[in-house]
């Protein structure tokens, strides 16, 4: 019997993500500032919206209430994820804002990047703080990795 074709469901009742409180916004932006040295003010033109496990960056509209009347499918840029009790930057957001990072940036050679993308985990030693890092190669920001002493793990899409 032919397999039933899988169809993507349309969320007819899709609702707007909630706008984060000042405290929550402060916590997320502080993480970016402390981890990567990207000043919080970089994100002043944007609202921080939240769904169950994700934070989204969306430009501040003059009249948010009017837009909230629309049945929305996606809003803005996927910015940060909640992973257990930690925050994880998305590769999408790092590709956009990662060039502003002043610390915890891993500069890979093309050969190292290629190996990381293929093997997902490589041996790597660098004077970095343990945690999420910006992966960069020849001036291009590729996204997010996780550095633990002696290892670099890929979170590249």
């Amino acid at each position: 019997m032919a397999k039933k074709a899988r169809r993507k469901r349309i969320h007819q009742q899709a609702v707007w993500p909630r706008t984060t409180s000042l405290e929550e916004r402060e916590a997320v932006l502080s993480f970016w500032e402390e981890r990567f040295g990207i000043p919080k003010e970089t994100f002043d033109p944007y609202l921080l919206l939240a769904t169950a496990k994700n934070y989204w960056l969306f430009v501040k509209p003059p009249d948010l209430k009017a837009l909230q009347g629309l049945r929305v499918q996606t809003t803005g840029l996927l910015f940060t994820r909640k992973v257990s009790r930690w925050l994880k930057p998305t590769s999408t957001a790092l590709q956009r804002f990662g060039h502003l990072a002043t610390k915890n940036v891993v500069q890979l050679s093309p050969a190292e990047l290629d190996r990381l993308r293929r093997e997902r985990k490589i041996s790597y030693e660098a004077p970095l703080e343990e945690g999420y890092v910006v992966i960069s190669c020849e001036g291009k920001v590729w996204g997010c990795g996780l550095y633990t002493p002696g290892k670099l793990i890929s979170y590249l899409p």
Partner: protein, 308 residues
């Protein structure tokens, strides 16, 4: 499928409105040149892209008259397979596709509806022109096309756009848009030419009543924009039934006027008469772009201000 041999007979209907008709027919045999738009939001330095493409065997040169556009040689180069594409540094698009957004003249802080947005070349261009600071509602009626739009927004790192899935003609009222772009579905005659592999890119419209759809979209767009706001209507077809006749229909139903624009490509005024019918005199301020004069896709653009 319309063959190249059948093209002269098909386009004969437009002999009077296409300048230098014979040269136009000859031009259809040439493939489209390859261009991309550089995404300044993500790419800190154009040299990174130019050097990267050069390493892969492609030469990219800036187009002086259209900011952020680059022409690529050879024109068969697979831009979509490059890491510059993957990282969202470039968006391959034809040169004339930039014209509707040039007419729209989007500004930071404006609330803008892109009514038929997928796959997103113009949405992302609006975002780029405004430094990611306009509020863009990017709408499309088809989920599969919306998926491509969302993927492009993500790839280019756009934070100022939200997506919706409405039929354009039924897009709900309630948001006072400053500007609306209607890059309407059309028969695509302006794209018709011998393709890269010798195929013809023209798609016959079949039984779909495109002018009726286009009129519905344009009237709703006009009703959605605030008084004093701007609607830009564009298609990539030569057919006046899908261009001037649609705008003429709007101008007879609603209070609006066409505003003249400055474009970086050679163009001709819109028609004020077609097949014996006298059209609204404002239509001479609309613009027609022809493939053989622009070495790109044929386009029609009208910038309309809502008066009441």
């Amino acid at each position: 499928m319309l063959t190249l041999a059948e093209a002269p007979a098909y386009f004969e209907r437009y002999r009077e409105i296409i300048p230098d008709f014979e040269r136009f027919l000859e031009h259809l045999k040439e493939p489209l040149p390859l261009y991309f738009r550089l995404n300044e939001l993500k790419c800190p330095d154009p040299e990174i892209v130019i050097r990267g493409l050069a390493r892969q065997g492609a030469r990219a040169e800036p187009v002086e008259r259209v900011p952020n556009f680059y022409r690529v040689e050879p024109r068969t180069f697979p831009l979509g397979n490059t890491e510059e594409y993957y990282l969202g540094y470039i968006y391959p698009m034809t040169l004339n596709s930039s014209l509707p957004v040039i007419a729209l003249d989007p500004q930071p802080g404006e609330v803008i509806l892109d009514m038929c947005a997928a796959p997103g070349s113009k949405t992302t261009q609006i975002a780029q022109v405004t430094g990611d600071q306009a509020v863009i509602v990017a709408n499309d009626r088809r989920l599969d096309r919306l998926t491509a739009l969302v993927a492009n927004l993500k790839r280019l790192g756009i934070a100022c756009a939200m997506t919706t899935l409405y039929r354009g003609e039924e897009f709900p009222h309630g948001v006072p848009f400053d500007k609306v772009l209607v890059d309407a579905p059309c028969s695509g005659e302006g794209r018709y030419r011998q393709g890269y592999e010798g195929e013809l890119l023209y798609q016959k419209e079949g039984r779909t009543n495109l002018p009726a759809i286009q009129k519905g979209l344009l009237v709703r767009a006009f009703d959605l924009v605030r008084v004093g706001g701007i609607v830009v209507y564009s298609t990539c077809t030569i057919n006046p039934d899908e261009n001037e006749m649609v705008v003429d229909y709007l101008l007879r139903k609603r209070q609006g006027r066409i505003i003249e624009c400055h474009y970086p490509q050679p163009h001709h005024p819109g028609l004020t008469e077609w097949e014996g019918k006298i059209l609204h005199p404002d239509l001479k301020k609309a613009a027609r772009f022809f493939p053989h004069e622009t070495d790109s896709v044929g386009f029609f653009v009208a910038k309309i201000e809502r008066l009441m």
